[in-house]
Symmetry: C2
Subunit: 356 residues, 2 copies
Amino acid sequence: MIEKKIKIKDIASLAGVSAGTIDRVLHNRGNVSLETQDKVRKILKEINYSPNLYASALASKKVLSILAVIPQYKPGDYWEKIEVGIRQGALELSNFKVNIRILYFDQYAVDSFCEIMEEAIASKPDGLLLAPSINSITKKYTQKMDSADIKYIFIDSQIEDANPLAYFGQHSFQSGYLGAKLLFAQNIEIKEMAIFSFYHEGQETNNQISLRMKGFLSYRENKNIRGKIHRASFLEDDKERNEKIMKTLFLEKTKLGAAVIFTSRAYIVAEFLEKHNIKGIALIGYDMLEKNIACLKRGTISHLIAQRPEEQSYKAIKALSDFLLFKKKANKINYVPIDILMQENIDFYNSMFCCG
Amino acid sequence: MIEKKIKIKDIASLAGVSAGTIDRVLHNRGNVSLETQDKVRKILKEINYSPNLYASALASKKVLSILAVIPQYKPGDYWEKIEVGIRQGALELSNFKVNIRILYFDQYAVDSFCEIMEEAIASKPDGLLLAPSINSITKKYTQKMDSADIKYIFIDSQIEDANPLAYFGQHSFQSGYLGAKLLFAQNIEIKEMAIFSFYHEGQETNNQISLRMKGFLSYRENKNIRGKIHRASFLEDDKERNEKIMKTLFLEKTKLGAAVIFTSRAYIVAEFLEKHNIKGIALIGYDMLEKNIACLKRGTISHLIAQRPEEQSYKAIKALSDFLLFKKKANKINYVPIDILMQENIDFYNSMFCCG
């Protein structure tokens, strides 16, 4: 039942030589006949033996420096869970000489992203875990990292024309496509609907959000779904303006049957509907924020689509350190599951890893 | 960033005494002043120090015996994944002296279950991981285990009036309730539907299946959903009979708009529909069998509800060994997530743990 690790002495017994001989062959130290060397190497190959990189890494004196560059956040935000995953990864690396530090940028201010990336690259880390900003800006820094031989991994979303070691995140297009399916397969008639974005004045939309939007619209087109779409953009920290937008949409345009929000802030719309006692709007949101979950449980949000943030960043930290410590390469593209949460299964959901 | 384990010498430095003194206090060996003892104990309490049970367990000479009693299965069956979880748990225990053995019973034959349980109990294991059979029969053996002080944990389903250390599995009622929601919230009209069971002649229904059924019917009642329900029972290994049942239901009663199967064999109905080119039946199934997944991808099954079998048995083995090795108690009831899979998210699903 229990698998056993192969030890040097097991190989020695297979080859009919001493453990010392195996050790000499493994480390290319002389005093072993060519015939014996061949025999030992053949056995090593057959049993797929690899020397203990783990032990070598433990004994290494070099301190690896890993930086994580992610948006700053408020308690309960999506990014808090990304940080949980980073810290979990760091904890499991505590036996190695790895120094992990998190730098935060304002996701609604390109200047802030640039400043933090300049600082990060200037500190010459061995590896960098990056939640990308908009394509054009991020690309400038991935090029700098390529030149400086800084290895980087994307989480949350990826940008084109970059050379990351790997990506860990959701298939954003597909999560938008699924959002549309969940909305339009419901037993309701939707004549008009609203799509909410979230941005800071003058900023392009985040890559993930625009891919979700594309996926959503693509489903609508594939299924020949008609009906007017109202697009509205919230401003971070401008409650009054956001409220006004929702009043226009929900109180003046009474044909609205559904709404979708591609960021993690579906609760803003849900709480508005609750406050004004507006019923019968099918509302789809993303991410397991506490406020979103509360609205899902009260029935104002019909579905939440989740993307395992802790798993993304945990796996990214592990992949980055596995490469830097052991030269072990991760798969390039690593999509996390697209989880569907409803009133009926939310109480049993657990996005965290089961072990450890 | 990286948390550090507290060592004896750290405590010694906090208390301003030698490491030897700390050791003497920890093991209640004399030659330490009461004042110093108090000081050390206070610090130990403050930092929430627990002696290294892990090291003691590693050094122990006793070999623990754990048995897992689960249904025998064919490749690709649900129970194969339960075994994967058991083996994963066993692998991680390979540093300890734990002997884990799996015994299989025929889930459609009560005699077989009894025979295996007699054998299991007679071998006097320290712990037993059990996938229960029907209530009345299982109870007979849990009572025997209680008397013999054999610790046991339920997976997959639980029975009433037993004293397991813990249960790891789905909330079966809720997974049936969700099945109904997924079916009836679809944008289709369902006048008549079929519910399929699976049994061996003369056997009561498995506990999990009957709870799913209750949950399903409860949703229907809560939402005042009407329409005729046809109930049909398949026989394991009687293809001809099963085929005949489906012919009657789907080819002669053409009003059927939906079907649900509470066991893992939804693919049997789906493949029948495909073979006879019957369209427009909403079909809900359970569990990630390869054949089910194929039908989901082809669109003949609309939703699959999954219950993370590997996680159930992996966590159960860990909980059982944690108790037997370290006296660490698990939570009594541990529900796994109820995962919803559709054509749009199946490609990204991964029921396995992310680490290890």
